[in-house]
């Protein structure tokens, strides 16, 4: 999209090409405007808060990843040798809690969303900068409580906190972990609130709803889910806490409660939470695919509406988690049918990304490698989700490794791959430096191979009947489990590489130009890194999103000739 951005008022300099290292001292930007620790910790600049979120979330990935390594090491042999059942239960619970609540849910909105939402719509900051900072500190409080719960012995209920185990029987730190989840929910709510108001109220002149980049549509739809769903999980975990302390009789049949009610309330939030994780990833995908195919996205309007459709339909499908929990068969049928409907907008998106790439100038940079990996992995994850939505098949594979493989394909193969793609794509914008391109491509390849090696065998294991959440298994399943553990080692290496070369590039990377990818969008028209208020003058948007030249690559080449 094009807009009019005024030339810099002070110290004008030509747009820097990507040159090696020690170039001209960059003009004042959000990073070098102030260096004191207070200027970071008390900053209300959305970009600085995004960077603080990035550092915190990277730390949580390492914590959650360490738990994953322990799980896979234990499962390398059939006997329970490294971990015994109690410790194993705690490790998989903490892996789930940390990854879901402190990485997958906040990952893209809090880091990329915080950084990009105001810039992409032509605003100086989010609508409520102080509330944005507050959301970060609430997030830190949630992390602190979780880490205290880990230090005091951990939780062993599974990340789903199912009753009656969590409310009546578990002796681990359930209450503390539940409070941590409760607190963290408010951080999400405040971020969602901020995004909704910002998109409604602060769009630049000319930035109509249907000129918004699809990343913004995705953040907006995600924020709606957060606002409508998160209060329910907060109330649910609060009720579990009250049940443990005062036996009020919500979930415990002894006092007139019903354990299945917990599952209804939990999944009312937690199934839409799956879309809180994947929708922002889909937003990132739309940006990557258009930028590196140099083509307008195929079917902009239907992409925007399918984003909203996923957000809304996602609220009506939660019962597919309860097929074997004693839910009525009729309710099961209803939930099963609606589950199939979610596949429609999701498939539209996949087909439209592929159609966008078709006859485009596909440029295989690191972000595009991640985007293509996403396409394959998300498709496998999504299609196996349709298997699981069918009641008969679900009864066969319920609570087996088939389910574990399915949601890792969607969450890790989908969200995490898009997260890394997005981080590489906007890294030059965020920090003004290029990352080493070849290293990036190598890490994307290692992640893709490692991921499939880790999780594909789990589909087979699950189909053969290996249940999830056990630390031992019959010997005939060892080969597939060893393959999975070997893949996890490779996958871990793939994720560690960017964590090394990205910080390295901050000092040694080539200086990035304003628009190293030749991409459309307001963020590529301002400095890299941006100034504190992003734009020197309010931009006026005059073009559609992704206004790349029309026609196929061959038509355009023919025109040039």
């Amino acid at each position: 999209m094009s807009s009019t951005v005024a030339p810099h008022a002070a110290a004008p300099r030509p747009d820097l090409p990507a040159t090696d290292g020690h170039a001209v001292e960059p003009r004042e930007n959000y990073l070098n405007v102030d260096y004191g620790w207070k200027s970071w910790l008390l900053s209300t600049d959305h970009k600085r808060i995004a960077v603080m979120y990035l550092i915190t979330i990277m730390f949580m990935i390492l914590v959650g990843g360490s738990f994953a390594i322990l799980l896979r090491l234990e499962l390398a042999t059939p006997a329970g040798d490294l971990l015994q059942s109690e410790t194993y239960n705690k490790i998989f619970t903490m892996h789930g809690v940390v990854m879901v609540f402190f990485f997958l849910i906040p990952g893209i909105p809090a880091v990329l969303g915080n950084f990009l939402v105001p810039i992409m719509i032509g605003a100086k900051d989010l609508a409520f900068p102080k509330i944005n900072l507050l959301s970060y500190y609430i997030f830190l409080a949630g992390i602190t409580l979780t880490l205290i719960a880990v230090a005091m012995g951990g939780v062993d209920t599974g990340w789903t906190f199912y009753t009656p185990y969590s409310s009546t029987y578990a002796n681990s730190q359930v209450a503390l972990a539940a409070i941590a989840v409760f607190v963290t929910g408010f951080s999400s709510i405040l971020t969602g609130l901020n995004f909704i108001v910002t998109v409604h109220k602060m769009r630049a002149p000319g930035m109509t709803w249907f000129r918004l980049p699809l990343f913004i549509w995705a953040q907006y739809a995600t924020s709606l889910i957060i606002m409508l769903g998160t209060p329910v999980i907060a109330i649910t975990v609060a009720l579990v806490g009250l049940e443990r302390l005062f036996h009020i009789g919500i979930f415990d049949p002894t006092y007139g409660g019903d354990p299945v009610l917990f599952q209804h309330m939990f999944w009312f939030y937690s199934h839409p939470a799956v879309y809180i994780m994947i929708l922002p990833a889909m937003g990132v995908m739309s940006e990557l695919v258009t930028a590196f195919s140099k083509k307008r996205v195929f079917g902009y309007h239907i992409m925007a509406f399918s984003t909203l459709a996923i957000a809304v339909i996602g609220f009506f499908v939660w019962g597919h988690h309860l097929f074997v929990s004693g839910q009525s068969t009729y309710a099961g049928v209803m939930f099963s049918v609606i589950t199939m409907l979610v596949a429609v907008p999701s498939a539209i998106k996949v087909f439209n990304w592929v159609s966008t790439m078709y006859r485009g100038d596909v440029w295989l940079t690191t972000p595009m490698c991640f985007a293509i990996a996403f396409l394959g992995l998300f498709t496998v994850g999504g299609l196996t989700g349709i298997f699981l939505g069918a009641m008969g098949f679900d009864i066969h594979v319920h609570d087996t490794y088939f389910v574990v493989a399915h949601f890792h394909y969607v969450m890790v193969g989908g969200m995490v791959t898009a997260f890394f793609g997005g981080i590489h794509f906007w890294w030059p914008k965020m920090f003004g430096r290029m990352y080493p391109e070849n290293m990036g491509r190598i890490s994307a390849a290692i992640i893709f191979i490692g991921f499939n090696l880790t999780f594909f065998p789990q589909f087979i294991l699950g189909y053969m009947g290996m249940p999830r959440r056990y630390h031992f298994y019959p010997e005939e399943w060892q080969v597939l489990n060893v393959l999975s553990t070997a893949g996890a080692t490779l996958l871990g290496t793939g994720y560690l590489l960017p964590m090394i070369y990205l910080p390295w590039s901050l000092k040694f990377g080539k200086v990035a130009s304003k628009n190293p990818w030749g991409a459309k969008g307001l963020e590529w028209q301002i400095d890299s890194p941006p100034t504190t208020f992003n734009f020197d003058k309010v931009p006026i948007v005059t073009e559609e999103a992704y206004a790349y030249p029309e026609g196929s690559r061959h038509q355009r080449e023919a025109e040039v000739v």
Binding site: G229, V232, H264, F316, S328, T329, A331
Partner: protein, 101 residues
């Protein structure tokens, strides 16, 4: 009220809201001590709904906000209905089929 200007409500209004809430709480307490048969729960819920409405419309100023704000405020309640309706469709249909095995 529309636009960006905040609505400034007189302090009397807040006192009125406070009085309504206190009165509602006492009423809930009194109702809980009486036996109205099957009306016990509906009556308690009715008082709670009236209190919530007063809070949303007056204390939270939704009454003077733009249509968009009203839509968002209403959406929360619509979603609460979805939670109730789809949970109850499980409870109400559980006895339709016998449990085999």
């Amino acid at each position: 009220m529309s636009g960006n200007q905040p609505h400034i409500a007189p302090i009397k209004l807040y006192l009125g809201v406070f009085a309504t809430l206190i009165a509602g709480t006492w009423l809930t307490y009194w109702v809980a001590l009486q036996d109205f048969g099957w009306l016990n729960t509906p009556l308690a819920l009715l008082i709670a709904v009236v209190k919530a409405t007063v809070v949303v419309l007056y204390f939270m100023h939704v009454r003077w906000q733009s249509k968009m704000t009203m839509v968002f405020a209403a959406a929360g309640f619509v979603w609460l209905l979805i939670l109730f309706a789809f949970t109850l469709q499980d409870y109400f249909t559980r006895s339709w089929l016998p449990i085999y095995g």
